[in-house]
């Protein structure tokens, strides 16, 4: 039952094989086995959204997905999304608007926002709030997060492209 089995999957563009216990969640696998600690565990029952990652292009709860279930799939974590700069404009908007405080929910918020804007280019504020209904934030009043996502949707609609975020001066 607890004997580890090999799992092969693609993480942030890199295909790798590791042993994982069948009971190990994808969240634990990413955090513990791979050191990708950007994915956070908040409720461990799929409610708070802190553990969201992209699996084959769709946001999924890493705490509800077993590592073995992700075998053969392509996972993108906040680290990979940062390095590929696909969420650079979201990160910049969150930073400008102070759409985070302790930062624990933030990777999950970014994944949800990324998933939403892929699905729908220019959501209304109500649609943004609705899309965030699986992401708890205990620090902000949510409003800055909604503002930031709305700003990115508008900027993208106006043709602005994502540029590097991390190298910009703070």
């Amino acid at each position: 039952m607890t004997a580890a089995v090999p799992v092969t999957l693609t993480i942030n563009g890199e295909t790798l094989t590791r042993l994982a216990e069948p009971r190990e969640t994808l969240a634990d696998f990413l955090r513990r086995d791979l050191g990708l600690t950007g994915t956070h565990a908040g409720c461990e029952m799929g409610v708070c959204g802190a553990c969201l990652v992209m699996l084959d292009g769709v946001p999924v709860h890493a705490c509800l997905t077993f590592a073995v279930q992700a075998g053969g799939g392509a996972v993108e974590t906040v680290e990979g999304l940062s390095e590929s700069a696909v969420i650079a404009d979201l990160q910049r908007a969150f930073h400008e608007r102070n759409a985070l405080q302790c930062g624990f929910c933030t990777p999950g918020m970014l994944v949800t926002a990324h998933g939403l804007l892929v699905r729908k280019a220019t959501p209304s504020r109500e649609e943004i709030r609705d899309a965030l209904s699986g992401n708890y934030c205990r620090c902000t009043g949510y409003e800055a997060i909604v503002d930031a996502i709305e700003a990115v949707a508008r900027r993208r609609a106006a043709g602005e492209t994502a540029a590097a975020f991390l190298e910009e001066p703070a």
Binding site: T2, E21, R23, R31, G35, L36, T37, G38, T39, H40, A41, G42, C43, E44, M45, V47, C48, A50, T77, V78, E79, S82, Q91, F94, H95, E96, R97, N98, A99, L100, Q101, C102, G103, F104, C105, T106, P107, L110, E126, I128, R129, D130, L132, S133, N135, Y136, C137, R138, C139, T140, G141, Y142, E143, A144, I145, V146, F165, L166, P169, A170
Partner: protein, 790 residues
């Protein structure tokens, strides 16, 4: 900003500017470094077997099977840890007569609440530790649980803990005299019995600790998700008998705190002992269910209160009885009595009246302990006061705004002492109310409300004025015997390259502490803030101080940084004067360059640093090249710097389902000098959302056996984006004259009054039905009961 910048207004001034947080970029990139993320070589993991009963005696513990399981390194009971750790009691000397059962990391004989940790397991992985915990057999003998607060107070009641003589932890009374006569002669009296549910902080990152005892050096290093590392350095030192300088507490990124992460928890104390017993690093991270049954809860009050007014609608007196149930013992070291104490002292705080009587009873029961959580006591006092004011307005025939205009302390009446003993330096209640009235379009809302009522749509408008306690002085904990600093410290240095390094005792939990400290220091040197590196959260690398709680980060920490920066600036200018053969008073600093009175550039900060560090041979023998300064600051003057403001809430009630939609929320607040409006606004909004959570959703529910019945995030409702309104914020600035900076706290203002404004709004919406509610959270069921529907 409204207030003139005055002496703080320097070149490159950052005070009052909305600059973003440099450290937030790291968090946005997923590069946060929380205790939950930390891994040390040879690290082990702890899990705990917890009590299934609210009250029981431990008959026997059989861990033989568990000890033999894979990966298990240690199983420890209360007795094992008691040999290392001195017990503690959560009392304060200035709360006369207060009592509480002594505590150890794990219990020896008696468990006091369902979920209390009983046996610790240390194993190679958390999963192995949990597997082994399941294999431990503990025989319990159930004892009668004390659950109901009234039953707990009966003379012959069962005791919540054997070690206390009865279930009254603390009681006190305030009385200005003559209350019965005033009520007997009053033209209007309103009264109500209020019920406030238990709720809890729900930090997104659960509690986490990683203790590393190194016997070879006699040194303990604890990575601890806490907001108060110095307090824990002291506690680990004293309770485990380790010299204080050999204890290092590191608080890196903290995933939410809200007061919850400054109390002593049994598991945290245990983990230190477990590391000593194993001689290896031991980590414990609470899972969410453990958080619900072991993090402190908060509130849980029943308040009977009445207010007397004369025929003209002037408030004459308040009479209050607050009973609060805190769990089976008082938390350490801040106690569980502070909340009730603040409730009875904050009652009526925004209003001008002289006569007051209050009775406080703090009662033990077999539930997890309650203690300080964001806006300690404020929401209770504010909701009771503001609801009574609304009821009084209806009784005396006033609009809620006009009765407040009549009774709020006039802005010119300061200094003012409340009948409960609080001294207010200068507040702006009247100005705030006038601002709110315009901001929310009050008259238009009332007109709209009347029109919509005709169409069967029931909207409500609620107001709540508040004061918030911030910048607490030593009078808060120090005089009670708790080793909790009222002062903060900063060590400020010019680096050899001419940058500034600031090590400071106030801590960062996402509020932006590091950012505002950087702004203040950069401001004093007239340099870019990217040239200032702020270091927090490590007892070995920062000076001792109170850290961040009770909204003291900006007001006390900021002032400490300001004074330290002025001291260092004085040293730099003095050295510059020596180098330039000028007088220090004729020099100033701009953009990292020393200038003279005409603004001519004379020498750069980097050049001064280069000479001081590398070419001191070129300086005169008596030259003082002190480019590092240490400075400590404690509040002087008023015991607290009070923040004030007023909130408005607009709701729509569906009378058929009991659901309430929060349409909009407004806040006008006065936290004195604003250092960074971007950060202040979102702090206030976050506080409002926690207050609205208390008003509508959040409640830790227990059954009659003392079992928590909703200990998961699927069952305990936390406000989400789709339920929260847009929140409009406006500011008045009345800087405190007690400091050069003039800043007061802002982090608790939102929570202080949001539930009160919501309570009034819902009651306003229910008024046409002749119904009212005096209980939060205002769940649909409770609202339908209030409406008589069910």
């Amino acid at each position: 900003m409204n207030a003139p910048l005055g002496t703080l207004d320097r070149p490159n001034s950052y005070i009052g500017r909305s600059v973003s947080r440099p450290n937030a970029k790291r968090l946005l990139a997923g590069r946060g470094r929380y205790v939950t993320d930390l891994v040390l070589p040879r690290m082990l993991h702890a899990a705990f077997l917890r009590s299934p009963y609210a009250h029981a005696r431990i008959v026997s513990i059989d861990a033989a099977e568990a000890r033999a399981m894979p990966g298990v390194r240690l199983i420890a009971t209360g007795g094992d840890l008691a040999k290392l750790c001195k017990p503690w009691s959560g009392t304060l000397d200035h709360f006369k007569g207060m009592k509480s059962a002594p505590q150890l990391p794990l219990p020896l004989e008696e468990v006091l609440w369902a979920g209390q940790a009983v046996v610790a397991v240390v194993a190679d992985t958390r999963a192995q530790a949990e597997d082994a915990a399941e294999a431990i057999a503990v025989e319990f003998e159930e004892l009668p649980p004390v659950v109901d607060v009234d039953a707990a107070r009966e003379p012959d009641a069962d005791r919540a803990a054997v070690a206390v003589s009865d279930n009254l932890c603390f009681g006190c009374r305030l009385d200005t005299g003559g209350i019965d006569d005033i009520f007997a002669g009053a033209a209007h009296i309103v009264e109500e019995e209020f019920h406030f549910g238990r709720h809890t902080a729900v930090t997104l990152e659960p509690r986490a600790i990683l203790a590393d005892w190194d016997a070879s050096e006699g040194k303990l290093t604890v990575h601890h998700a806490t907001q108060t590392p110095y307090q824990f350095q002291d506690l680990y030192s004293r309770h485990y008998g380790i010299p204080e300088a050999s204890v290092r507490v590191v608080a890196p990124d903290i995933g939410g705190s809200f007061g919850m992460k400054l109390h002593v928890y049994h598991e945290d104390m245990a983990v230190v002992g477990l590391s000593m017993l194993c001689g290896r690093p031991v980590k414990f991270v609470a899972d969410r269910i453990e958080s619900f049954v072991s993090d402190i809860h908060a509130r849980d009050h029943r308040v009977r209160a009445r207010m007397a007014l004369d025929a003209e609608g002037t408030i004459l007196a308040m009479d209050v009885d607050d009973v609060t149930a805190i769990g089976a013992f008082s938390t350490y070291p801040r106690t569980s009595a502070v909340e009730g104490n603040q409730v009875i002292r904050l009652m009526g705080a925004p209003y001008r009246f002289d006569s007051y009587r209050a009775e406080l009873s703090v009662v033990f029961q077999n539930k997890v302990q309650t203690s300080q959580y964001r806006a300690v006591g404020h929401p209770i006092a504010c909701a009771v006061t503001e609801r009574l004011v609304d009821m009084a307005a209806a009784r005396a025939g006033f609009d809620p705004i006009s009765l407040r205009e009549k009774n709020l302390i006039p802005d010119g009446a300061y200094p003012f002492t409340s009948p409960t003993g609080y001294q207010f330096e200068a507040l702006s209640h009247q100005k705030s109310l006038a601002r709110l009235k315009v901001l929310m379009g009050y008259d238009a809302l009332r007109a709209e409300q009347a029109a919509l009522r005709g169409r069967g749509i029931h909207r409500g408008v609620g107001l709540a004025s508040f004061v918030e306690i911030s910048n607490p002085s030593p009078a808060f904990y120090g005089i009670g015997g708790a080793r909790i600093s009222a002062q903060d410290g900063a060590v400020l240095a010019v680096t050899p390259s001419g940058e500034i390094r600031c090590q400071i005792s106030v801590t960062e939990q996402g509020q932006g502490t590091e950012t505002i400290i950087g702004q203040i220091v950069a401001d004093q040197f007239g340099i870019g803030r990217e040239k200032v590196r702020v270091i927090t959260g490590d007892t070995e690398n920062t000076p001792h101080g109170g850290a961040t709680w009770a909204c003291r980060g900006a007001g006390i920490g900021g002032e400490t940084a300001l004074q330290a920066a002025r001291k260092l600036r004085g040293n730099v200018l003095s050295l510059a004067a020596t180098i330039l053969q000028a007088r220090p008073g004729d020099l100033d600093m701009r953009d990292g360059v020393v200038v003279d009175t005409r603004g001519a550039e004379r020498v750069s900060l980097a050049e001064i640093a280069r000479i001081a560090y590398f070419r001191s041979d070129t300086l005169p023998k008596d030259a003082s090249a002190q480019l590092t300064v240490a400075h400590h600051h404690a509040p002087q003057g008023y015991p607290f710097a009070f923040t004030n403001g007023v909130q408005g809430c607009h709701v729509e009630l569906d009378a058929e389902t009991g659901f309430v939609k929060i349409l909009k929320h407004w806040v006008v607040e006065d936290c004195g000098r604003i250092i960074n409006p971007l950060l202040v606004d979102e702090q206030v909004r976050g506080g409002v959302v926690q207050g609205l959570g208390a008003a509508f959703f959040e409640e830790c529910r227990y059954d009659e056996n003392g079992q928590l019945t909703n200990g998961s995030l699927a069952d305990y409702l936390v406000p989400m984006a789709c339920e929260m309104p847009d929140i409009v914020i406006a500011h008045i600035e009345t800087p405190t004259a007690d400091t050069a900076l003039g800043a007061k706290g802002c982090g608790e203002a939102g929570t202080a009054a949001a539930s009160a404004a919501a309570l009034n709004a819902v009651n306003d919406a229910m008024a046409p039905f002749g119904a009212s509610i005096a209980q939060i959270p205002m769940t649909p069921t409770r609202l339908l009961k209030a409406l008589g529907t069910i």
